[in-house]
């Protein structure tokens, strides 16, 4: 029964396909009416203008091509000119590669991961996500898009916290590094770790964990780290 229904539906699809293709057919009468209309002179006139326009464009392209060809010929025939042009091209490429490959300056605080952001003082389990509870300013707080690592920080004498590195929430280059901001301690669902590629136990996905969020002067969250 199921097989018969499927066949019928396919047949109906075929029928409707045929109907569609027939529907777009224009009758011979319609075509003849258009072809015999008095506007055929306008049609030819439009064609003439189109040809003249296309021809003019082609002529411009041809002359541009000829200019390039002349330039190339000069290069080939004059070794000195070729050498100068090659040297200029190499210098340009070198300069471009230096600019592109220049490593981003990293601050000492970021490399240690301990002092770039002053830790929030209240204990983790007493605080919810409130922007008013910001703590110390950060200095400097340039957040690079390239640092997505997870390592355990050594125990600090001030607290028994272990935190990940700060993970960027916005990707800004170092030239736009913010000079000041605030760190807000919040609580987030453990499942948020997944979005940052941090492994987590799915059975505990609904639990809350502590996170420090770097908020810039513009109010945008710049980075986050998870604290244990």
């Amino acid at each position: 029964m199921l097989g018969k229904t499927k066949l019928t539906r396919d047949e109906r699809l075929d029928e409707v396909c045929e109907e569609l293709l027939l529907a777009v057919k224009v009758s011979e009468d319609e075509m003849a009416a258009t072809a015999n209309s008095a506007d055929s002179n306008d049609l030819y006139e439009g064609l003439r203008l189109k040809i003249a326009d296309l021809g003019a464009r082609s002529a411009r392209r041809t002359s541009a091509y000829e200019r390039l060809r002349g330039f190339y010929t000069t290069m080939v025939e004059s070794p000195r000119a070729l050498a100068l042009a090659t040297a200029a091209a190499i210098l340009f490429l070198l300069a471009a590669s230096v600019v592109v490959l220049l490593p981003a300056p990293s601050s000492p605080e970021q490399s240690t991961g301990t002092q770039a952001i002053a830790p929030a003082s209240p204990p983790p389990n007493a605080i919810r996500a409130e922007s008013g509870e910001s703590t110390e300013s950060i200095k400097p707080a340039s957040v690079s898009a390239h640092r997505i690592s997870h390592r355990r920080r050594g125990l600090d004498s001030r607290s028994a916290e272990v935190a990940t590195d700060f993970l960027p929430l916005t990707f800004v280059d170092d030239s736009r590094a913010q000079q000041s901001g605030h760190v807000v301690r919040v609580q987030v669902l453990r499942s948020a770790l997944i979005a940052f590629g941090v492994p987590m136990n799915m059975e505990r996905a609904g639990e809350l964990i502590t996170a420090d969020v770097v908020v810039g002067e513009d109010g945008l969250a710049r980075a986050i780290r998870f604290v244990q």
Binding site: D14, V16, V24, V26, L43, R48
Partner: protein, 208 residues
């Protein structure tokens, strides 16, 4: 052939008096190559209906068809240098291939600039659903699909699929003729046809 010279002559020379006995296509092509604008106009008048008829297989709006006619003849004009005649219907076959290519390019442009005009309204959707699900009893189901609705649905196909379905089913060409016009092999035409039908069924399936 120096097209630049012909183009400046094309714009300046007035239309000459037509000859009583119309020469063959190949002779007219040779005259156009020599800068005779009247010969080109004669070719245009002689073959524009055929080009228009073919364009009407792909498009049903008059302005679109006229654009196709102009573009096809303009392309033919600039390609006259590559025309190799010698047989009775060489020119019309050559011009037909150019027209098919022009229609295909127009389909591709239309696909790139799909607009909200190709969206279906509620009536169209209801009609299609009835046709695809019904059993042949209701009035809606038996109503004809409008050309506008059919065109909107066919617009959703890839240009190659639309091209092959149009040539085979709307223009009623054979597989061999379609292969010749498109430059594809016969096996490719068959494969494309099969894929095109599947694609069209997939478009319709959304309304089941």
């Amino acid at each position: 052939m120096d097209q630049c010279t012909n183009i400046s002559g094309f714009a300046a020379v007035p239309v000459l008096e037509r000859v009583a006995q119309e020469p063959a296509d190949d002779a007219l092509v040779a005259a156009v190559r020599d800068g005779d604008e009247a010969a080109f106009e004669l070719l245009f008048e002689r073959h524009r209906r055929s080009v228009m008829r073919l364009a009407y297989r792909f498009f049903y709006r008059r302005d679109q068809v006229e654009d196709i006619v102009q573009e096809s003849f303009a392309s033919a004009y600039f390609a006259l240098g590559s025309y190799r005649g010698g047989q009775e219907k060489s020119f019309i076959a050559w011009l037909t291939r150019i027209t098919v290519r022009t229609c295909y390019d127009a389909l591709r442009r239309a696909k790139r600039t799909e607009s909200s005009l190709s969206e279906l309204d509620e009536n169209d959707t209801a009609l299609l659903s009835e046709k695809l699900r019904g059993n042949g009893s209701s009035e809606i189901e038996n109503a004809a699909i409008s050309r506008d609705l059919a065109s909107k649905l066919l617009d959703r196909l890839d240009p190659e699929d639309r091209l092959v379905l149009t040539l085979l089913n709307v223009a009623d060409l054979t597989v061999a003729e379609t292969a010749e016009l498109t430059g594809w092999s016969v096996s490719k035409v068959k494969m494309r046809t099969h894929r095109a039908r599947r694609a069209l069924q997939k478009v319709l399936h959304r309304f089941v």
